[in-house]
């Protein structure tokens, strides 16, 4: 039996992905990219679940992972629908234009 990847590694990777995604959300001004960054964050959670399920030795984590994938997909769907609507309304998909609500 080959030795498994130590949990710490996948944990660190997950954290890295999470913060990269977060940084993307904060920095990128393009809605599509923002949505992608969110996907990244969700997937970091997925990685964590899978690694953890391997670690703790039951499949609940993988079940969870599959749920999350679905949820991420829905989110992407809704998000993209909105992006299209935004594009129709404002002619582009830059977040700077979404400043009407403020104060």
């Amino acid at each position: 039996m080959s030795s498994i990847i130590p949990i710490e590694h996948s944990l660190i990777l997950a954290f890295l992905l999470f913060f990269i995604g977060a940084a993307g959300v904060l920095i990128r001004r393009n809605l599509i990219t923002v949505l992608m960054s969110i996907e990244l964050m969700l997937n970091s959670a997925n990685l964590l679940f899978v690694a953890a399920s391997r670690q703790v030795g039951n499949v609940d984590g993988q079940v969870m992972m599959s749920f999350v994938v679905v949820i991420a997909a829905c989110e992407a769907a809704i998000g993209l629908a909105m992006v299209i609507a935004i594009f129709r309304r404002y002619g582009n998909i830059k977040t700077e234009f979404l400043r009407a609500l403020r104060g």
Binding site: A22, V25, L26, I27, R29, T95, L98, L101, R102, G103
Partner: protein, 650 residues
């Protein structure tokens, strides 16, 4: 019966004030006179009852006020003092009411006048009859109110309204003294009833210290009250201004009755004052100096009523002096005589003013003798009485006071000397008044709108009271002939013996007042009497010499030429009013404005508002920072998360 005495004036006041039709002057006058007159009759019968019984009578009405340990029944006491006082008040009151009917003929709203006047009589009666400090205080401030209303009777002139207000406020200062006196009394004796208090004082022989500090303070605070009401230094300032009221008011309130309330009150509480020699000394000196002070001012005044006003202050000074030297009976006696002749003088002056169509400046008068024979006659009697010509009432009362002052162990001669000087001044200015008004050529202002018709004698119902008063101001004197004179005809001082039961020295204080009953050489007494007579004659003579058949300028010029400063100072009444105004009233007004406009509006209110402004302002800024940027929001979410994680893990 005693209740009737109170009820009639009150009824008259209510009828005139609220119920009766207001057009008919005759009706209102009649009602008022009837009210006081019947009160007088009742008072007479009350007095006779008392005189027959010769025992103080208490009349319990109802329990007026009870709170905690404090009880104040509505209780009236008829004794030597109050019996006498109700006679004076209702008697002279009646005369003045009759007179006023004529004097106020031209007035539109006589009902108001007579309502006030009746109310005053009621309050004054309450003051003198009340058997405890609280009821007395009700009357005490009640008369103040009436005097306020009556001084301001002609309210259309700003000045009158101001004068009335001044009177009320200065009196209020005194009233606070009175109040504090009540508080102290209640604190130390637990009661405010005169009967109980006097018995307390008798118990005080048992105390180690015969003159406890408490009594000093009590008497002092009550004396402050007396200063306010009886126009003594330094609170006399309201009385001269009070002459703004109609002359009958000046006669009744500001000469005969109300202003003597202070003396009355001190006499009522003589047992206290005997037990506080320190206060007595203060009282004596204040009285003496007030007498002189006011007399000097009266020397140069030209307004006939002002002269009489200052003379009143001066005479009140005599009475206070009498109280101060422990001769309460003499004080009350002078109160009685003064009530008669000063009322007479004021009413006389009123007739003059009436005849001169409300001209009050003596320099515009003169030679009125032929126009107003009766008035002249009675005024002459009044003047003789007040300056103390032997045989007239003033002589007996004033000399008694001077004598008692002289034998006062501490500073007696000084007190006597001051009083003596004041007597001279009195003689001078009263004679001056007489001369300027009635003798010599007429100095009527030819440009006055009414120069074409001559001044004429007043109707009978105005001079009749004068005649009666004139008679009284001669006759009353013989009630109080000093013992050493009375002995000549085998009599004794009726008045003193009448008051004996009332004015008694508590056992604890006997030692300090032995001189009052000590025997003195008659020669000394004779000597003093003759001296004062001579001195008065001298002063009167000078006045006659200066003023009869001389242009007024003469003496005025004479004084002005030689002592212009003094003359001006006297004319300005020593500038006391100005001093008060500038030292007390103006600063207070400034403080008040400052407190309002700066402290209250800016600082206190500002602080409260400032909190609101701060919140609003910062909130505005903060909400401006909500830029609506997606990324900024995201940053807050993540930063919040990380921050909290860090915060709670470490």
């Amino acid at each position: 019966m005693i209740w009737m005495v109170l009820a009639f004036p009150l009824l008259g006041a209510l009828l005139n004030g609220f119920l009766l039709p207001r057009r008919s002057k005759f009706l209102s006058h009649g009602v008022a006179v009837a009210a006081v007159g019947s009160a007088f009759l009742c008072a007479c019968s009350v007095f006779l009852d008392f005189f027959a019984a010769r025992r103080p009578q208490l009349h319990f009405g109802f329990e007026w006020l009870r709170a905690g340990k404090f009880v104040a029944p509505f209780e009236l006491a008829v004794d030597q003092l109050s019996g006498l006082m109700i006679l004076i008040i209702t008697g002279i009151g009646t005369l003045i009411h009759i007179y006023a009917g004529g004097y106020m003929k031209e007035e539109e709203t006589t009902y108001r006048f007579f309502a006030y006047l009746n109310l005053f009589i009621f309050m004054m009666l309450l003051l003198v009859l009340g058997n405890n400090l609280l009821v007395m205080f009700v009357g005490w401030e009640g008369v103040g109110l009436c005097s306020y209303l009556l001084i301001g009777y002609w309210f259309q002139e700003e000045a009158n309204a101001k004068a009335g207000m001044k009177a009320f406020l200065v009196n209020r200062i005194g009233d606070i003294g009175f109040l504090i006196g009540i508080f102290l009394t209640f604190r130390h004796f637990g009661t405010v009833s005169f009967t109980e208090l006097s018995s307390w004082i008798n118990l005080m022989t048992t105390l180690p210290d015969p003159y406890p500090k408490a009594i000093f303070w009590i008497t002092l605070s009550f004396f402050i009250g007396a200063c306010g009401k009886s126009a003594q230094l330094p609170l006399y300032v309201w009385l001269p201004d009070a002459m703004a009221g109609p002359t009958p008011v000046s006669a009744l309130i500001h000469a005969a009755t109300m202003v003597t309330a202070g003396i009355f009150m001190m006499t009522r509480m003589s047992f206290f004052y005997y037990a506080a020699p320190d206060t007595m000394l203060i009282v004596a000196f204040v009285g003496a100096f007030t007498a002189l002070f006011a007399a000097t001012i009266a020397l140069v005044q030209t307004d006939i009523k002002k002269v009489l006003a200052y003379s009143t202050v001066s005479q009140l000074g005599y009475m206070v002096l009498a109280c101060g030297v422990g001769a309460f009976d003499a004080g009350v006696f002078h109160l009685l005589t003064h009530a008669c002749f000063k009322a007479l003088l004021f009413l006389g002056a009123g007739s003059v003013i009436f005849a001169m169509h409300h001209e009050q400046d003596m320099r515009r008068m003169g030679g009125l003798r032929k126009h107003l024979p009766i008035t002249h006659a009675v005024m002459l009697i009044g003047v003789l009485a007040i300056i103390g010509v032997p045989g007239f009432s003033g002589f007996f009362s004033k000399d008694e006071i001077l004598w008692k002052a002289f034998i006062f162990p501490t500073y007696g001669p000084i007190l006597w000397g001051v009083g003596f000087l004041a007597a001279g001044c009195t003689a001078f200015y009263m004679v001056r008044l007489l001369c300027l008004t009635f003798y010599g050529p007429s100095y009527q202002d030819p440009h006055a709108h009414h120069h074409h018709h001559e001044p004429h004698e007043t109707p009978w119902y105005m001079w009749a009271p004068l005649v009666i008063l004139a008679f009284l101001s001669v006759a009353v004197g013989y009630l109080g002939v000093p013992d050493f004179l009375a002995h000549l005809v085998g009599g004794r001082n009726l008045f003193a013996s009448y008051l004996e039961g009332l004015v008694y020295i508590p056992t604890s204080a006997r030692s300090a007042w032995t001189h009052l009953h000590a025997e003195h050489a008659h020669s000394l007494e004779w000597g003093l009497m003759l001296t004062s007579v001579a001195w008065v004659t001298l002063a009167a003579g000078t006045a006659v010499f200066c003023y009869v058949n001389r242009p007024v300028r003469g003496i005025a010029g004479f004084l002005g030429a030689h002592f212009p400063r003094v003359h001006q100072l006297l004319l300005d009444k020593y500038r006391v009013d100005e001093c008060y105004q500038q030292k007390i009233v103006t600063p207070l007004a400034e403080i008040s404005t400052f407190l309002w406009q700066l402290f209250d509006v800016r600082i206190l209110n500002g602080c409260v508002n400032w909190v609101g402004y701060l919140l609003m302002g910062t909130s505005g800024i903060a909400s401006f920072r909500m830029t609506g940027s997606l990324h900024r929001y995201g940053f807050w979410v993540l930063a919040g998360t990380v921050g909290i994680l860090v915060f709670s893990c470490f």
